[in-house]
Symmetry: C2
Subunit: 480 residues, 2 copies
Amino acid sequence: MSLESIAALAPAWGSAEPRRRGRALVAIADALDDAAGELVPQAQAETGLAEGRLCGELRRTTVQLRLFAEVAAAGAFLDVRLDPADPDFVLGPRPDLRRYLVPLGPVLNFAASNFPFAFSVAGGDTASALAAGCPVLVKAHPGHPKLSDMTADIMRGALVASGMPADVLGLIHGQDEGVEALRDDRIAAASFTGSLQAGQILARIAAERPRPIPFYGELGSLNPVVITEAAAAERASQIAAGYAASVTGSAGQLCTKPGLLFVPGSFDPREAFAGIGSQPLLHPGIVGGYSRRRTEVLGTPGVRVLLEGTLDDGGAAPTLVETDLANLARHRDTLLAEAFGPLSIVVRYDPSEGLAEDLEVLVEGSLAAGVHIGQDEDSPWLRDVVEVLRERTGRLLFNGWPTGVAVTPAMQHGGPFPATTNPTTTSVGTAAIARFLRPVTYQDCPPALLPEPLRDDNPWGVPQTLSAAGLSARWGEAVG
Amino acid sequence: MSLESIAALAPAWGSAEPRRRGRALVAIADALDDAAGELVPQAQAETGLAEGRLCGELRRTTVQLRLFAEVAAAGAFLDVRLDPADPDFVLGPRPDLRRYLVPLGPVLNFAASNFPFAFSVAGGDTASALAAGCPVLVKAHPGHPKLSDMTADIMRGALVASGMPADVLGLIHGQDEGVEALRDDRIAAASFTGSLQAGQILARIAAERPRPIPFYGELGSLNPVVITEAAAAERASQIAAGYAASVTGSAGQLCTKPGLLFVPGSFDPREAFAGIGSQPLLHPGIVGGYSRRRTEVLGTPGVRVLLEGTLDDGGAAPTLVETDLANLARHRDTLLAEAFGPLSIVVRYDPSEGLAEDLEVLVEGSLAAGVHIGQDEDSPWLRDVVEVLRERTGRLLFNGWPTGVAVTPAMQHGGPFPATTNPTTTSVGTAAIARFLRPVTYQDCPPALLPEPLRDDNPWGVPQTLSAAGLSARWGEAVG
């Protein structure tokens, strides 16, 4: 397995009937499910994550593969548009135009440390790229190298068993090897899930290649959540419990962890954290990064410690601090950065003043943002807050917590920079497939040379959108 | 009119019912049509383009505005996806998820010189961004500053007449002013039509901002066209006539001009160029650039002059040279670059040998690529050529010429680098609207706070795609 052999398979994998690719994805999902008994213990050994969490994550990963199998087979992702020739076209005779989406080519996927299944070798980026018709080269995360090898072996075996070449999926290890692959002219697009710093470096490499390529980086995020006065009055302890679970789940090592909680008056979530002890962190790199960020936050003037927490080689117990809007603004360079671990910042605001204007200045692009409101609560104050959050996030949630991302057609996992390097796409949910496709139009192509999705007899049975001839002279009339 | 006031209008313009924005686009189209008597002479005076061509271009521009008015009003561009809450979701209860596309925010549009209407102040980038819900700041091209002012004034007047604020559309002049705006944090996306060099500089500025933004550059292109032996045998003089018209139309100053023609045997297109005299070029910058490129091409070893052509301050008469595949490969750095003017390179190939392998090495990303084939021609040789061209272009055309781009749903005007800075989008056709939108998902939002397109009662009547609850456990089963 080499980039050479992966690239050589791009035309065949990309032009195969999508239903065949779907069958291969289902075979991969079956094989991974069958191997859960080996995969989960290996993941536990390398990441320190809990068995229950890892079983759920593997299940999510194989459900995701099955969902993308359906997306591929349904064919709507091809966005087929047929404009028959139109001799009466308003700007002069129009040729026959047939447009669909084709795979970009070999995709390089940088795996994440914190989801050894769902954002790693067999994760969402791989599933969506394979469904789109792109062979995938995964750069393994050094946090779980053996699990990565095991996963790739199982996937490659399942590909062969389903009649496809094993080399549609490749795996490499090493930072230098990853950068080398990113610079390789045969790589047509890259995806990444990880830190802001690493993501920015890789995005720049992708942009500065002789032939630049699309780079989809899902970076860090603060995921601010606002608690309104009414919500706090109605159910403070329930909200505190949800917050504590969301901050400390997976030891806070989730890109959707609520890192900023805006609270009114005397709201105090401390009690909900009682009894949440130390949990292991994923690997020494994360311990080091979290330690630096935690020390910075704890040492910031005007920051009051609610829970000091702990951090040692054995893991981390939650750290909670509080500050106010003015101090957050004063120390924004220190405080408004992700701490990848069980740390969150409680920010007190005065409900008698407008919060939206502060959020406008303080909140940056985020994967998710939330607001907890009272029963039937509605006001200009609330609507302003909702509007400001919406402008800065990919997912706006109500009376809930950002961790836990459903894999469905309507999911959006992305957002304005610095949440991602590209706000127009998602890395979770069926729309993720669009990242690895580009449009091509066939003009006046003889029927015998048309690719299957563009043919009038539509042998693959994909959805085709027809723009009938003869309508163009009236464009715009129906709008008034 | 300032960036400040344009940015201030983004929320209102972006959240207005799309049909209302559509009405404003129709009002703009009407006003521009009404002003044709002033606009066309001004365009003639500043660009030297012929009256007939300019009248057609203005018509194309206003038809395009009407088409985008329809796209806005129809609402399908919002890509609304509703996933109702699902207590039986396979990975645990799923929240209510509702996703649609929202405007990115203020768009900066760098206008082109060669289409003073269709790729300028009121052109496709402006029309698609306005339809998407983004206010637009146009950086005027210095080749037609007065026409740009006139166009903007008419558009702003039509906006006011249709009940919208004039500052939804702004205009600035000057290279430094354009770069300053591109660096301004209030600009959320930028579009550009122009040279590879300028486009790469601007793309880098957009990527290196503290907050990087999407940049859509439509750059230069060689648009290779292959003539098969059978096509040449059937209709050499007809093909030569089409080639001559496509190379010399608008004095060759089109990004879709066929810059490379691959021909078999003794095919000689010279006669078709007889009688095509000198035509004015757009402005001194283009004269200088074309002069440099033409001198380079004429001075390249192994290049034989078919028609020397002319170039002086009065304009340019067509220049035609020929070479062979080996010499093209030898001097690829000189020959494989766009010459923006009436110059094209004829490349002879040996039909008894495979052409596809040469094209694989010689052809770079191109806006369009074409092949002229014989009646019912089909062969592995031809299919290989078609496949190689398709991998390198956004539009693949048969028995036609790349100039003349229909504005329709199935049009694709884009392609792999260096044709564009982003192969996943188009700058012509209805799909162009997607460049200026980003997805947002509302999770468990109370009905009263939902935006109109996501509401169950669907007050705007937009298409909504529903993913019913209860299906997830069977994902993948239907694929086999």
